[in-house]
Assembly symmetry: C2
Homo-oligomer: 235 residues x 2
């Protein structure tokens, strides 16, 4: 019972030191980062007590963080055995993911198109710009910003539908998450093509024609699938 007083850096006189942090949130994000960076390899066990020691906290917030994480599909829990990092994506998993994206994302594009505002359009343009300017070095870490912009673009479209359930459905695909892991070992070779397709989706949205937007998104997803399957490892 010594740390709580250290969390809020004292000295801020009043009005919430920006935001009192809950330790479980911090643990959650820390674990998420480890998972996306590949520091936690698929199949590895995630010990509750162990990570508590590593992060220098008690097991209680770790339990809470893992309970939340489980619902994202990143880790799996076995009743009295603990948590394990979810296994790697197989080619079949990837095909299933693309099938699901093909069912959901064009709908999102159509709905988002119908209620597009200049402000929202600007956000999408920013995402595409970031996509173009993000470094694409050889190591995985250097793709981080690129992948983040990619994910942001798709998530923004989901959010711009204004439909909470479509957002939830998109999130269930692990939009933020699985994609990072998917390419963890593969490498990304289709950046140039993907950027052009994102631009095409953006252009289609700008025209205000929902069907065009849906078609552009569908084509993008199909092409991503095609390219990824082409140079996927045997696995």
């Amino acid at each position: 019972m010594q740390r709580p007083s250290q969390i809020n850096s004292p000295g801020t006189r009043k009005g919430r030191p920006v935001s009192r942090q809950v330790l479980a949130d911090h643990v959650y994000e820390e674990l998420l980062e480890s998972l996306m960076d590949g520091r936690l390899e698929p199949g590895a066990t995630v010990s509750i007590d162990g990570t508590a020691r590593d992060l220098d906290v008690s097991p209680t917030p770790v339990r809470e963080a893992l309970a939340r994480l489980e619902h994202t599909g990143m880790v799996r829990r076995v009743a009295l055995k603990g948590y394990r990092v979810a296994p790697v994506f197989t080619r079949e998993d990837f095909a299933e993911l693309m099938e699901a994206r093909l069912a959901i994302e064009p709908v999102n594009a159509r709905l988002a198109c119908a209620r597009l505002t200049p402000e929202r359009l600007a956000q999408l343009e920013q995402a595409v710009t970031d996509l173009k300017t993000a470094p694409r070095g050889p190591s995985f870490a250097e793709y981080r910003d690129y992948l983040e912009a990619d994910e942001r673009f798709h998530r923004l479209i989901a959010e711009q539908t204004g439909n909470q359930f479509m957002v939830a459905a998109y999130a269930a695909l692990g939009g933020q998450v699985q994609r990072f892991r998917l390419f963890g070992g593969v490498g990304i070779t289709d950046a140039e093509n993907a950027i052009a397709e994102h631009q095409a989706v953006l252009d289609a949205l700008s025209t205000g024609d929902p069907e065009k937007a849906a078609a552009a998104m569908a084509e993008h997803v199909r092409k991503v699938r095609g390219r990824a399957i082409a140079d996927a490892p045997e696995s």
Copy 2:
């Protein structure tokens, strides 16, 4: 530290008393039941310590159960304030849910149709049979079995796609969950119609024509939306 010895009713000589239960799982299901039955009204606060006292457990498993529940949309968490039951469905929420179902469920029907086996078909037939025979009394509790069969029918189709992500997307809609609460105050008046439509979906699946199956499912969802909006309260 006295209860663990009571959980596994001693006397079973060996081989796991069917399954050692984890308290958090029990709390989870208990809370879920309270939420679906309406005992926990929308907007009510769910105190961690309080429910721990009610269920006669410690706060630790309650925290874990609530962390999982949050991801289903049944409860919302505010960082240092606690959990509250999610607010009631508005008419707009309902419209959004139906829009999302319309995007996802016909696809599920199409995919499920393609890989339908006799065994799976039998499961679906069982669900429709249960739907027909379930009691439909005036009180909410008496609709329990009916709603369970309804949900099971749709979930089976999602699972029969063999696509884990479509299952996840369907689950994100709160398939198991939101529907129970949705009608909590409204009452169900469309059982006869809905049963016929489920039968129609089942028939379409039996023909083995994926497009027929998708169309039947789309029509079902649209009609549910139409009927529910017709006799929905102002709210």
